[in-house]
Subunit: 321 residues, 2 copies
């Protein structure tokens, strides 16, 4: 018996779903669809499913699960430069999750609806014998034809990220007991980055007209950069020395330098990764972003270490399959 | 220890989710949301999640699972009078469902995309340790302000359904081994009604400007009629003698009259239930619909039997919780 190779998510999409995609689907490469809205606008539609023990832990606080569910979707809207409008919510819950759980979950939704100016538009509630499975489909608006896409960058563009990288991946390690830290504040900060990503909505909207390509980092910097490069038909060089790191992450790295793998390949950052032509550098210097490398001809993604030599990358990002 | 009463789906929605609903959500009473589209149109958004062993059986053919998933959503669009445009698809699949399953599943999607003139717009694919969990969010268009709603009917309106009732419920009984039939054709017809509902899209669009309220029947006639009456603030009387029944269902009823419960309360019909003023009767006589009763003042739903006396109704429809 020869084991059948498993297809990863991107191979599945390319093989089975891309042939079904129509106008507005952006060939299923952008984690979002565009349909015409009222005069001069387009709607951005994006959807994400999260599953207990895959995307969140069974004992995560229900309000924070709700917030994370909304935020991972809002992060996709941010990556398109969209202004969020509302969302549909599908819940598949085991019977063990009763009114008390739901009340906390709904409180998390309410908190983030206020935070991000969105409303609930619809949804579906079903029971499941399996893990909690939650889907949000988020809707936002962009000026017509102006949505940021993953395609569009070219050799010579600068490569940028927002915020800092790797914190969420370390937060997850702490929750799983794989990383010890004696500092309660450090533990708290990193876990918060895992549980409550910050969708970069304001930044995304400011990047309209500046960025030549953009996406959010959910599967890890290197894996997602490879997706952006695929969509644009280019390669990229990342200078590891330039990667923006939080004080908490610098402290953790001092204790264990191998944690750099979590910066390059850990998921759940939900920062924006984008490109812009050299002429945009001055405008971008006023925004909370860091230039980490540049777009090159070819198709390779290379990370250069401190010595200017390519780093061997042991991760392809989070894969479901 | 006192057992906590479980909340049913509608109580959950009213208590936890309705307070979160915004403009366009139709108070979460319509299984659909409306947002403005290009000049003179609105988009109808609707979403349904189906779970293995709840909404379909583990060994149902994958292509038919895909078709049912699309059709239950298209049925919601039909109930709004919408023209379908496209859909987003979220799959949560156990690792045991590999390329062979997905290939058949995608073939079912392709078949119905062609059948109903829709395209795939986006989605998400994740792995789950639990049952197959599938979500479709469907998008259609209606002329602005013309969508059929569950509210809007009043006392004196006639009550109508499309097609025939109860077939799908009997099909499910056959698949579960709860109903025997010696006729292969009868078995095949009823099972097909369970596995492949027929969204009444053409009818829905023709009902714009005629129907005063509409919905599709997914949880059973009586339960769904109660929802329509709730949304409109009215009651209704159904004349059981007038219920449209297929030849297969009549044959089954002759053998077991108690199966009438499947006509009144069995789910999965996906026929349209709607109301119209008496003046519309002539127009409606040219459509594949049957008048089954009328809207009344009050809030009660009553079913009259052959003797003109109220039938005791032992079902409240399918409930997930």
């Amino acid at each position: 018996v020869v084991a059948k190779p498993r297809l990863d998510e991107f191979e599945r999409i390319a093989r089975f779903f891309a042939p079904l995609a129509g106008k507005g689907a952006l060939e299923l490469k952008d984690d979002a669809a565009l349909i015409d809205g009222p005069a001069g606008t387009q709607y951005v539609l994006t959807t994400d499913t999260i599953v207990e023990n895959v995307h969140f832990l069974a004992d995560d606080p229900p309000d924070q699960i709700a917030q994370k569910l909304l935020r991972v979707n809002l992060s996709d809207l941010a990556a398109k430069g969209a202004k969020p409008l509302g969302y549909l919510l599908n819940t598949a819950l085991p019977k063990s999750r009763g009114a008390a759980w739901l009340e906390k979950f709904a409180r998390g939704l309410a908190t983030d609806q206020k935070e991000f100016g969105i409303v609930l538009l619809g949804g579906d509630s079903v029971a499941t014998a399996g893990p909690i499975t939650l889907t949000v489909t988020a809707i936002g608006t962009v000026p017509k034809g102006k949505a940021l896409l993953r395609s569009g960058t070219r050799a010579g563009d600068g490569l940028y990220v927002s915020g800092t990288l790797g914190d969420a991946a370390l937060g997850l390690k702490i929750l799983k007991g794989e990383l010890k830290s004696r500092s309660p504040k450090l533990r708290r900060d990193l876990v918060a980055r895992y549980r409550l990503p910050e969708p970069r909505l304001d930044l995304g909207r400011r990047l309209i007209g500046i960025a030549t390509a953009a996406m959010d980092i959910s599967d890890g910097l290197v894996a997602d950069l490879a997706h952006l490069c695929d969509a644009s038909g280019v390669g990229a060089i990342v200078d590891a020395e330039k990667l923006p790191l939080s004080p908490a992450l610098r402290a953790a790295l001092r204790a264990d330098p191998s944690l750099i793998a979590s910066v390059l390949g850990g998921g759940d950052d939900y920062e924006l990764l984008f490109t812009a032509p050299p002429g945009a550098a001055k405008k971008l210097s006023r925004l909370p972003v860091t230039e980490i490398g540049r777009i090159e001809a070819g198709r390779d993604v290379t990370v250069l270490g401190r010595d200017g030599q390519p780093v061997k990358i042991g991760t392809r990002g989070y894969s479901h399959f």
